[in-house]
Structures are given as structure tokens and as C-alpha cells.
Amino acid sequence: MTLCHRSMAAGSPGPTPLEVFDVFAASGRRAAAITHLGSVPAPNRALADIYVRRMFARRHEQQTLWLVPRVDDAHWSLERIRLRRAPCENTASSQLGDRES
């Protein structure tokens, strides 16, 4: 049984590695802000969809969810944009991001 295992990288024998899907939502009072809710490992998009609905919207707490297959680091930049645009969260964070990028 494997959810996220380095030894199951592409090319190794055994079952197909699970893909990671990142989950984003625009919800609540700050409807304009897109937030990274988390991620799920799943074999394909259809199963990821079911998993994400159970994990993040079982009580209809989210109206819209975005599911993004994780291919590279690009998904994190969305979260950075949010942090940069919301100085009340923490302005210092964007400073670190600037220095690192």
C-alpha cells in the first residue's frame, strides 16, 4: 500500500505511481482570494475528483474547487500571489519570497 513513496518513481517495477493533485478554492468572506487547501494522491483525474469532493466539500463548505495536477513548482506561485496581495497576512513573507526567487 503506497500513498507517496519515493521508491515508486516512474520506471520502477510495481503498480503505477499515484499522481499528486493540488486543491485550490475561492471561498468564504474573501471570495477573491484563491487558497491552497491541500493535495491528494490519486491514480487519475476521475478518482482524484471523487477524493477531493469527499475531503474538502463533504459538507458543501466549498462552492468551487480547482484540481491541478502537480507537474512542477508552478502551483506554489499561486499561493505566493495571494500572500503578496494580502498585506494583512504578512508583508514579511513576500520579502522572503522575493529574496528567494
Binding site: 500500500m1 503506497t2 500513498l3 519515493r6 505511481p17 491541500g38 514579511a92 522572503l96
Partner: protein
């Protein structure tokens, strides 16, 4: 980095004392850290240790209530309890994903757990003996947990904060669910009131220990340097007592601690000190039910492995 592993954490390159100091200053000023930011290895280790203990506690804690799913007194209670157990497992899943992104694969964490190499909270090394125990656990341990989690949700690691927002939201219904179970018992027959009282007597000393030993703030690097948490364990316990003692008494229940009193002069609660040395041994695998719970987990992992194996072949299904 292999994107298929979901392990995004950067290797801690270029770590120097000066850079770490700068990082700590940044955290103390309220700075937030994302998974792909540079972080000192000490910060990463503390995060992994902390979040892993939390993940395992959610995962193992669900077992105590799961045992009562088939014995819940009404269909409504059964549905509510099933939803709560599902929530707790969901919390563990969220947290395991955070660990995977910090380069701690879920599989390794679960292997370490079932082989007793990884700790989980001592509170969950017991068994829920009666239906009232599930009420006390849901009401009071989730109150203690939500005090800790609301504090952690203001910590320095942004992905953990976001996961905690969901966790805290769900813990709020759990508290209401547990309180409702105990209130119903307290309004019932003498036997039902006695069941609630006995459960409280059993769990109170454990609840008092829930937030951990009274380590001084200055000796907890998670507070002083890494800003993963802000309140000390004792501050959390004081909040727990302020929140719950009067609620418990309002239901006509008695807290069997002769030393429990609110000192108006200092504004603090006094209580009988828990046996910290004994509780530390639980984490090392010597709790009353530790073996049974870990065996159950190991068995479930081997029995349910086929589900994941089947799913992992689903990619080929059109």
C-alpha cells in the same frame, strides 16, 4: 525532485549560522514560510516531528470512537459518530500530505507508526469503555485539542495554518456532538447520569494532561525560535480549565480533583499535577492499549492493501 512523489521540499543548501539567525528573526517578526522557501534543517526537523505527531494522533485517536460505531444508541448518533471518525481520518490525510511535501513519505511515517518507532499522543493509548466515554472524548479532548490547534493555526508554517483552518472548523462540531451526548445522559436516568460521571472520573486526569507537561516557554524552541506555536502547554491548560470546568459543573457533574480551584488572586487554576513520567512511557509504546491499537492498525494496513493496489491500476481503465 520527482514530481510524482509530491515531495517538494528543498534541500537545505547553503545553511549557515547567520542565515539561520536571519530566518529566526524573520519568524519572530511574524514571517510565514511556504514549502518551497529555504528553511534551516532544524526548522524542517521540528516541523516534521510536530506534524507527524499530530497526524498519527488524529489517525490513532479515531480508533477509540470507531469501536462504538456499531454500538451507538440511535441511528442519529451512529451517523454523527461516523462523520466524526471520517473527519479525524481526513485530518490525518491532510497532515500526511504536508509531511510528504516536507520529504517525509506517508508510507514511511505509517510504517514507523505501526512498528512503534513513531509516537502519537498519550491520550489515545486508552480505550473508550462506555458510550459516555465517546461523549467525554469528543466534548473535552476536542476542546483541549482545539485550543492547541487554534494556536498552531497562527504559527509560522503557512501550509500547516491552512490545513488547521479546516481542522479547527470541524473540531467545533465535534465539541457540540460530544457535549450533546453528555447532556442527554445527564438529563436521563440515574444510571445514565452515573455513566457520564464515571466516564468523566476516568478521563479527567488524562484530560488535564492533554496539553502536555508545563515546559517553560523559554525552553521550547517551537515557541522561541521556530514560532510553530505561540502558547506554552500550561497556558493552553489554563484556557482549557477556564473554558470547561463551569460547563461540566453546569451539567451537574462533579470533577474528582480535591485540588482543583480557581485562584482569584493569580487568575490561575490549581490542580493535581498529572504523572508526567508515566505518560511519557505511553508514547514509547507502554500505554494500556498501545499494543492492541497498533496491532489493529497493522492488520488493517495489510488487509486493505488490495484497495490501493487496485486503485493504482485504475489509471489504465479508460
Amino acid at each position: 525532485m520527482d514530481s510524482s512523489t509530491g515531495c517538494n521540499a528543498r534541500v537545505d543548501q547553503g545553511e549557515t549560522a547567520q542565515r539561520t539567525e536571519e530566518f529566526v528573526r524573520y519568524l519572530r517578526a511574524g514571517g510565514l514560510v511556504e514549502v518551497d522557501d529555504w528553511m534551516p534543517s532544524g526548522y524542517r526537523r521540528s516541523l516534521v516531528r510536530f506534524i507527524e505527531l499530530h497526524a498519527h494522533s488524529e489517525y490513532m485517536g479515531a480508533l477509540l470512537e470507531r469501536e462504538w460505531l456499531s454500538r451507538a444508541p440511535t441511528l442519529a448518533r451512529k451517523l454523527a459518530l461516523a462523520a466524526k471518525v471520517q473527519d479525524e481520518i481526513g485530518h490525518a490525510q491532510l497532515l500526511f500530505r504536508l509531511l510528504a511535501d516536507l520529504d517525509r513519505p506517508t508510507e514511511d511515517a505509517l510504517e514507523d507508526l505501526v512498528h512503534g518507532r513513531s509516537k502519537y499522543h498519550w491520550f489515545f493509548h486508552y480505550r473508550a469503555e462506555t458510550w459516555a466515554d465517546t461523549g467525554i472524548i469528543a466534548w473535552l479532548s476536542d476542546t483541549a485539542a482545539s485550543i492547541a490547534q487554534a494556536d498552531l493555526a497562527t504559527g509560522s508554517y503557512a501550509p500547516y495554518r491552512r490545513a488547521l483552518a479546516k481542522i479547527c472548523w470541524e473540531e467545533r462540531f465535534h465539541i457540540t456532538h460530544g457535549h450533546d451526548i453528555i447532556r442527554t445522559l445527564c438529563e436521563g436516568t440515574a444510571e445514565q447520569r452515573q455513566m457520564a460521571q464515571s466516564a468523566l472520573d476516568r478521563w479527567w486526569p488524562r484530560l488535564l494532561a492533554f496539553n502536555g507537561p508545563p515546559t517553560p516557554r523559554e525552553r521550547d524552541p517551537n515557541i522561541t525560535d521556530w514560532c510553530i506555536k505561540r502558547l506554552s502547554n500550561e497556558e493552553m491548560r489554563q484556557r482549557f480549565l477556564s473554558k470547561t470546568v463551569r460547563q461540566i459543573q453546569a451539567l451537574g457533574l462533579h470533577i474528582a480533583d480535591p485540588n482543583l480551584a480557581h485562584d482569584a488572586a493569580t487568575g490561575r487554576w490549581k490542580y493535581t499535577e498529572p504523572d508526567w513520567d508515566l505518560l511519557q512511557t505511553f508514547k514509547l509504546g507502554h500505554g494500556p492499549e498501545t499494543r492492541a491499537w497498533l496491532a489493529l492498525r497493522a492488520e488493517a494496513r495489510s488487509k486493505n492493501g488490495w484497495v490501493l493496489e487496485t486503485l493504482s491500476r485504475a489509471r489504465t481503465i479508460p
